[in-house]
Amino acid sequence: MLEIKDLHASVDGTPILKGISLSIGKGEVHAIMGPNGSGKSTLSNVLAGREDYEITGGSITYKGKDLFDLAIEERAAAGIFLAFQYPIEIPGVTTMTFLKTAVNAQRKARGEEELDAVRFLKLVRAKAALLNVSDDMLRRPLNVGFSGGEKKRTETLQMSLLEPSLAILDETDSGLDIDALKVVAEGVNALRTAERSMVVITHYQRLLDYIVPDFVHVLAGGRIVRSGGKELALELEETGYANVGESAA
């Protein structure tokens, strides 16, 4: 699914990622943990194609293709989905209009028939109900005046409608209390399939109690310093990141 080899990336000339290699297979859920400033968000943004980052070395192959050949929207159409740490508010564009534009843009890019208003409404209503996204939220401008939980549920609804093959969840737990976190995690878990891979980026182990990963990687100083199974997350909870970093150095 995704093959990252010796990836180096900089922001404004400052190296942030310093040689990351990671292989993610179909249907696998990988957690990437690490302290602030370790490069977690940079990695997710580089995968989604944000243009503020300069790739200075290495390669990323996605479904056999060079990811760097694809524009942001082409990556999306090819099945990459980034759930934002801080979902963007867009005044003037209703959630419904945005969702329909996004779904049909991807269908069009893949050569599929676009959904008409009636079919789309039926689809979105069914999926929104599962995530407790109300009709009122669908009618309101995207994320404007939404609570933290409502924003993350709306992000999850986008994932559910766009059906990505690789979902990257960037600090999905930030801004959520435990109840809101459970609702979002349930929504994400419902989207786990044997075909869909996920990268779950988080600072805290807490999220991984609810979205249980197959693999855990620890990112520190722009490199993956340890990899293991889900038990690694529990170990980090007890020992903290400092020891991990040292043991790798």
Partner: protein
């Protein structure tokens, strides 16, 4: 006194020989205009829109009555065409009965051309000398001196029109013609009307100058929706002088896309308590277009509310201007006035000038004004693209969202849709700038 103004009036002023009261006013207007000349950038109210420079480009000739079919070139369309309405059409500034739809008017509604009204002996007590505040007075004087035709819309007390009235202006400029049009719009007490105005032109350079004198009786309501879609080389001046009586409402939304240089002037004066006026403007400009939105609201009495919002998209080397002035008279307590200008620059070479002016002489008032100038939000653009929406569509979505504060709240549904569609069509030719 200036030679330019003299020469212009010699060629373009309306001939005398009409009713004595009108000749008197026209002479006074000529004298007043010649005295000051075309306003230029040394006049504070015209600092960003130099009419001397704009008008010096060509020798203007007076427009003449044009007969026969009017063929709109490709891309020119009246966006309100399919809305059932009473329609008064002016071509090159003159009324065209053959193109207008004015049959079956309800009792108490008068819609005639200015020429016809004058010929019928109507005397306009104030329309030709209501020169408005200093900011816009040079243009109302010019217009009073030169206007030959226009529309007279009068709605009697208590009459509520169930269909809109349209004023459609076409300008077909084979020569550099100057058109000066005067409209007189009067609503009696408790009357209401939706007025749809379209201004479309083509051909070469021309001047389209229109002044509308709006008088609203007590508790009356006028919804005034305009599309300013003048030709690529046109200079347009569009002025509304609104006198709003107690508990009356004037609600205007303007979509401006056309012209080389333009100024939309609105002067509202509250004549009675409890009145409300709002003027919302959306403009989309590119190339070397220039658009100036100037609004003056005179809270002459207590307990009135006013709001002005201008939202503009500037591409290429286009320039925008917003001048908003609020005057609150010493006794006009409980006045509530808001003014806001937001501009979205799509290119490094586009420019925006915003200037608020507050003259507040009362102490128990609320006056708010603000201005923002920005570019398309990179975060929002990245977000939309990350959901599979291509960059062009994402930009259009964000620009549409930016303008939605103006276009979304238009109180006439079919007209709202028409305005949104017209704004959206602007993108189709948006290749000469940042997009």
């Amino acid at each position: 006194m200036t030679d330019q103004a003299h020469a212009y009036l010699d060629a373009n002023a309306a001939p005398t020989g009409g009713p004595a009261w009108l000749d008197t006013r026209r002479r006074a207007a000529r004298a007043s205009f010649v005295d000051a000349g075309f306003p230029n950038r040394r006049v504070e109210a015209w600092r960003y829109t130099d009419l001397v420079r704009l008008m010096a480009k060509t020798d203007w000739v007076p427009a003449e009555q044009k007969t026969g079919a009017v063929l709109l070139p490709n891309g020119c369309v009246n966006p309100f065409a399919t809305i059932p309405s009473w329609i008064l059409v002016l071509v090159n500034g003159f009324f065209r009965a053959d193109l207008s739809v004015l049959s079956d008017l309800p009792e108490g509604v008068e819609i005639v051309s200015l020429d016809e009204a004058l010929a019928g002996g109507t005397k306009f007590e104030t329309a030709f000398d209501a020169n408005g505040p200093e900011t816009i007075a040079p243009i109302t004087a010019l217009n009073a001196a030169c206007a030959r035709d226009g529309a007279v819309l009068r709605v009697a007390d208590g009459v509520q029109l169930e269909r809109p009235v349209q004023l459609v202006h076409y300008t077909d400029a084979e020569l550099p013609i100057a058109t000066h049009t005067r409209h007189v719009i009067e609503l009696g007490a408790d009357a209401s009307m939706t007025l749809l105005e379209t201004q479309i032109g083509w051909g070469g350079a021309y001047l389209a100058d229109r002044v509308s004198n709006v008088t609203l009786g007590e508790r009356s309501s006028l919804t005034h929706l305009r599309v300013e879609d003048e030709g690529a080389e046109a200079i347009h001046l569009s002025t509304v002088l609104a006198d709003v009586s107690a508990d009356a409402k004037y609600v205007a939304t303007t979509l401006a896309l056309g012209g080389l240089g333009g100024r939309l002037q609105t002067a509202v004066r509250f004549a009675g308590e409890g009145a409300h006026a709002e003027s919302n403007t959306a403009y989309l400009m590119r190339g070397t277009q220039h658009i100036d939105t100037t609004i003056v609201v005179d809270h002459a009495v207590s307990n009135c509310t006013s709001a002005a919002l201008a939202k503009g998209v500037l591409d290429g080397e286009a320039t925008g201007v917003f001048q908003g002035k609020v005057i609150v008279a010493p006794h006009a307590q409980k006045s509530d006035a808001k003014q806001m200008s937001n501009a979205l620059l799509l290119s490094r070479d586009a420019a925006m000038n915003a200037k608020p002016e507050l003259e507040i002489y009362a102490d128990d008032v609320q006056c708010a004004h603000g201005s923002t100038i920005g570019e398309i939000d990179g975060e929002a653009l990245f977000f939309l693209r990350s959901r599979g929406i291509d960059e062009e569509t994402a930009r259009r979505l964000l620009i549409g969202a930016f303008l939605s504060d103006v276009l979304e709240f238009v109180p006439h549904e079919a007209a709202r849709v028409a305005l949104e569609e017209r704004a959206h069509a602007w993108f189709e030719t948006s290749r000469n700038g940042g997009l």
